[in-house]
């Protein structure tokens, strides 16, 4: 009987310890960015594809489960002047990023390609100007604006006055991507 109780207590303690350690991951800081193994395709000018369209694969953002990386994305969003067109997510000269509408897809790979290659009608290409790892950080932050990220990862507060609520408290908006142009699909 006693042994059984010890076993239960021991197991519970182990589970608690495991949970504790798992929680550290969201704050883990990696200062040496890992080499990128994903290259965005060139933005295609038409839906015609010689050789046919390759099958779609789902690429996840390597930094999307880490609060520190997403917070860095938030810092870079201002620093690289994304806010110049998209404001703090509400949009201006560029489209809003905190709503449910995604012109070129809401998947991380879509946003990655959008930042790297630009899009017609205004979005400039940041290829060679922003290192790969930082692009992924920005992708994470852009997705957090409309609540696509888990609550424990999204930024909790802004350093400046901000009209909208923090990314963490914004409700998750279901992406409306009925008409993602073929050219925005990621192979």
């Amino acid at each position: 009987m006693k042994a059984l109780r010890m076993l239960i207590v021991g197991t519970l303690a182990l589970i608690c310890a495991a949970l504790f350690l798992a929680a550290c991951k969201r704050e883990q800081r990696q200062f040496q960015p890992p080499p990128s193994n994903f290259k965005a395709q060139q933005i295609e000018q038409s839906d015609l594809r010689p050789g046919g369209a390759p099958a779609l694969i789902n690429i996840s953002n390597p930094v999307e489960e880490n609060a520190y990386e997403v917070a860095e994305g938030k810092r870079l969003f201002t620093q690289y002047n994304c806010a110049g067109c998209h404001a703090n997510g509400g949009g201006g000269m560029g489209p809003a990023l905190m709503d449910e509408k995604w012109i070129y897809g809401s998947a991380p790979a879509n946003i990655y390609a959008t930042i790297l290659e630009g899009r017609p009608n205004g979005m400039p290409a940041f290829r060679t100007k922003i290192p790969d790892h930082q692009v992924w950080q920005l992708v994470g932050y852009v997705r957090s604006l409309s609540g696509q990220l888990p609550k424990d990862v999204s930024p909790t507060r802004s350093d400046d006055m901000n009209a909208h609520k923090s990314e963490q408290t914004s409700e998750k908006k279901k992406p409306v991507n009925s008409v993602v142009p073929k050219s925005a699909e990621q192979p």
């Binding site: 800081r29 200062f31 040496q32 100007k129 290192p131």
Partner: protein, 348 residues
């Protein structure tokens, strides 16, 4: 522990202490080596406190020893009965001693308080004079941005981590922070003052002798706080004028082919997103201004000397030198890297 061991231990401790104390004596970053009126005041206060506290410390030790010895004498005969009603005049004497000691302590603390108040106020007092140099110093994680103000806007220039000042001229600083709380402290020249986000603090200092003085962020500000230093170079009026004239200029145009290619690489890759070089399209304010980076003695906030090797290491992967700093590693080809280094070194 045997006596021999104890002896060795004490000898080691004494040697360490001597080495430690000799480290305070001179050097480019020492409050005990003041070279300006501000630091002189601070060091006067320090020595006053040191001597007074030293005397008090020794007195307390002596009195404690006397008390121990006396107690030993009294307990010599165990048959003696404890004194429950000591004679009145003896009690009165003891009471007077305690009252006097308390009064002296209070007076000493008040002297310290008043002295410290006036010296502290002197450090931060705004300079009312019109001439003199005014520098806006902004703390970043983890480097210093210095902007030399001037009534003539075309004479304003920005540099980083290396501040030149003329000898014998008061220099006032407007201290700001871009992110978290930092603290500006050049021990040889002045006391310290915090840089607080959203607030402008002021401090002034003056160097009475030419030389190089090192300052250090004195408020923990994150991962690379320890590597957030700056140099103050005090020089003659003529040297300072020459330096200023050069700093106001735009960056020199690249002359050799390699330098031209370096500029091209700089302007077409990640560098341009954070750094500014006067006279080019690079105008970002998030990293140190590199207009005259080749003329500086150090890079990375006085972490590395400004040699080609260090520059190369820093450009390629600064995360090895200062993990966590804001500059990402750069994946430049060997030719491009050499060209960028040529260009950066040409920015005198």
């Amino acid at each position: 522990m045997s006596l021999l061991h104890l002896n060795r231990y004490l000898l080691g401790l004494a040697t360490a202490l001597i080495l430690f104390l000799s480290g305070c004596g001179g050097g480019v970053q020492s409050a005990l080596n003041p070279t300006g009126p501000q630091a002189l005041n601070v060091s006067k206060l320090w020595w006053l406190m040191f001597y007074v506290c030293g005397v008090v410390f020794v007195l307390v030790l002596v009195v404690t020893c006397i008390a121990f010895l006396r107690r030993g004498e009294r307990n010599a005969s165990p048959d003696e009965k404890p004194i429950l009603h000591p004679p009145e005049e003896k009690e009165a004497r003891k009471r007077n001693v305690v009252i006097a000691a308390t009064a002296i302590t209070t007076v000493i603390l008040f002297v310290f308080l008043i002295e410290s108040f006036f010296i502290g106020r002197g450090l931060t007092a705004e300079l009312s004079r019109k001439q003199g140099i005014s520098i806006e110093l902004t703390g970043h994680q983890w480097w210093w941005e210095a902007r030399y103000m001037n009534v003539d806007a075309s004479n304003i220039f920005t540099t980083a981590n290396e501040i030149h000042i003329p000898v014998g001229v008061p220099v006032s600083f407007r201290l700001k922070s871009n992110d978290v709380i930092h603290s500006f402290w050049v021990p040889n020249l002045s006391g310290k003052k915090d840089l607080i986000p959203g607030k402008v603090a002021t401090i002034w200092l003056q160097a009475d002798q030419p030389g190089l003085y090192r300052g250090q962020c004195a408020e923990y500000c994150g991962h690379q706080h320890a590597h957030m230093a700056l140099l103050i170079i005090a020089e003659s009026e003529q040297q300072f004028e020459a330096w200023t004239r050069n700093q106001i200029q735009s960056a020199p145009t690249p002359t050799s082919d390699s330098q031209k290619r370096g500029q091209q690489v700089f302007l077409s890759t990640t560098c341009v997103m954070c750094h500014a070089i006067g006279g080019t399209t690079a105008a970002s304010v998030f990293g140190p201004n590199l207009t005259h980076v080749g003329s500086r003695q150090t890079i990375a906030a006085a972490t590395l000397t400004n040699t080609r090797d260090h520059l190369s290491q820093w450009v390629t992967n600064s995360q090895v030198v200062k993990p966590g700093n804001r500059m990402p590693p750069n994946n430049l080809s060997s030719d491009d890297l050499q060209a960028v280094l040529d260009y950066l070194q040409s920015l005198q």
